[in-house]
Subunit: 362 residues, 2 copies
């Protein structure tokens, strides 16, 4: 409604790094040079379709199958300079591909954490007028390739919305199907249960620290470059959620804000305490030690406090055999009277003061 006041370009918006080989920059067209219809015509062919779509993009709304009479829904937003940077301190850029991948991955993870299988997503995209069209095309490709590569084979993009704005923002809303099973909530853990994890810990936090460092990408080891890749293109263990549900998981959530913080949420919802096993956690430090040493950081802090790897934290009966992909990481204990939620998680009996991220507080 507001063409009189088009978004003005900012430094960030023109800072895309042409040295990144995975980001097409031969096409210098920007989105304000196209009509909405023309831009959609560039994006649509790159979007993966959903096998569950009865009515796909192009009408007022999409229609998806909901085979068991229920539908799981979650939404998450990535905002420029909050969740990603077009130009990082080390010279790397978050291209559309990486942002699209991450937007898909973090939403697919929420469906996974309920024990459900994703069926479709809608994408609302806000772009400053100076955004390269190639960036928007890359976003569509990143969304689609993440869905494929992570194994959400029944999922695709069924609709969306396009807006102008002063900063790039991507909101994905994803739907899922529970396959006639009960959803696995955060609230079902009981004393005596074993706590198990599937997926990575601390990789994205380490990658983020490397991106924010002054160390050029080319000066990093292949292992360190993989940590940056883990931040940009996280790999939530998608088969693990429905598998855990089918294997009797009693409580589950995905680790988006850090192990300690998210374990605290599970503990709070279930009314229990959690004790993490320090020896098991030590094993998660190993792939991070070189980067931690280079940056003078603590690999254990990344393991305990780092989010955005989207591993799954699940409670199973104490004598249950853990499903494939899960490793025991701690125990569910009775809550002591008067215990504050902040102290509901210990590491081999000791309090950890490492906490995850909060988008507003400092």
């Amino acid at each position: 409604m507001d063409e009189q006041n088009p978004a003005s370009p900012t430094d960030e918006q023109t800072a895309a790094d042409p040295s990144r080989s995975d980001q097409p920059t031969v096409d210098q067209l920007t989105v304000d040079q196209l009509s909405e219809g023309q831009l959609l015509a560039r994006i649509f062919p790159r979007l993966r379709a959903s096998a569950s779509a009865l009515i796909g993009p192009g009408d007022d709304a999409a229609v998806l199958t909901a085979p068991d009479g229920r539908v799981v829904i979650s939404t998450d937003t990535l905002v420029q300079d909050q969740d990603f940077r077009l130009l990082w301190n080390n010279g790397c850029s978050s291209g559309g591909f990486e942002v699209g991948w991450k937007a898909a991955a973090q939403n697919l993870s929420d469906i996974n954490a309920m024990g459900a299988v994703a069926t479709g997503m809608v994408v609302s995209l806000t772009l400053p007028g100076a955004t390269p069209v190639a960036w928007a095309e890359g976003l569509a490709e990143g969304l689609s390739q993440a869905i494929s590569a992570l194994g959400a084979s029944g999922c695709g993009v069924v609709g969306g919305d396009l807006s102008g704005g002063r900063e790039i923002s991507v909101t994905v809303t994803v739907l899922g199907d529970l396959a006639r099973r009960a959803p696995v909530l955060r609230s079902g853990a009981e004393p005596g249960d074993q706590l198990a994890i599937a997926g990575r810990l601390g990789w994205a936090a380490a990658g983020w620290a490397l991106l924010e460092s002054g160390i050029p990408f080319a000066a990093l080891s292949p292992a360190e470059q993989r940590l940056i890749e883990a931040f940009h293109c996280p790999r939530p263990p998608l088969p693990a959620g429905p598998l855990a549900a089918a294997s009797g998981a009693k409580a589950m959530l995905d680790i988006s804000d850090g192990l300690i913080r998210d374990a605290g949420r599970l503990a709070g919802s279930s009314g229990v305490r959690i004790d993490l096993d320090a020896r098991v956690l030590a094993g998660f430090r190993e792939p991070l030690e070189a980067a931690a040493s280079r940056l003078g950081a603590s690999a254990l802090d990344w393991v305990l406090g780092g989010g955005e790897d989207y591993g799954l934290l699940s409670a199973f009966d104490g004598d249950a055999q853990l499903p494939h992909g899960f490793a025991a990481i701690g125990s569910i204990l009775s809550k002591k009277d008067g215990t504050a939620p902040e102290s509901a998680v210990t590491v081999s009996g000791r309090h950890s003061d490492t906490v995850g991220w909060d988008h507003f507080a400092d």
Copy 2:
């Protein structure tokens, strides 16, 4: 993940107009003074619950019933300074209440336009740190009151996401149930059908023009003030969508970008032409004439090109009795060979060069 780089306040973010009686400003707390959990604790109690929610807010995802084994989904975003202003030229402000109302209304309208009934929505909210907490609380109240007042009694807010950013952005994704009927698409109109409309035309465009004028709110007539209200708190005719579907509507969409443009979309999807009746359109001009006269604008331009009133445009058989709330507004004709989509809509046989809004093109 990015607390090192909190959003900085801007002029717009501090420009909320304290003279607006419906906007609480006694509480000067801003969102960066609260943790995410504290802010959610202020917002949640103001959100209307959904009767269809099996699992509501607070877990990794929500679970809604999908009674007929299908689910309708649509998403739309409102962005500060694109879709609303915190301070308009005439001194009015878009409070959280108004933005929340509009975000709910435009999404409910998309479900309505499929002939479906809304069951639940998720809300992703991006707020600069300097946003007053009261603005966010108002947004929750606006969302909830729009759902109630528009008659979406089975709908509520089942989840969401909260981010920081440099500008306010609200993305609502809404789900709906088709009640075992086929969805009404844009593509079903046939030559010989009558075209009918439910709802308003041009009110929001007139209200927007008044907001952008230099005329203070208090200097406007009550009728003109109602046009501003129509822009801020639009009233899509929600019962009309399912009623039209049950009454045999063959094609339908909601008018979000202007009558000519959206009629053109229906014509294009259906492979037909549309002729609008100039005499009927004249009747829609009447409530806008005083404002048009004051601003030196054209009431007919608002009727033909103004969006965001979210009326419904529907095609019915030529001899069908129109359901309650619909008025005949034109005819569906055969497409001439080689007719471009732009000329697919005429007004009493004559081409109109008034078009609606495009978020990127000028």
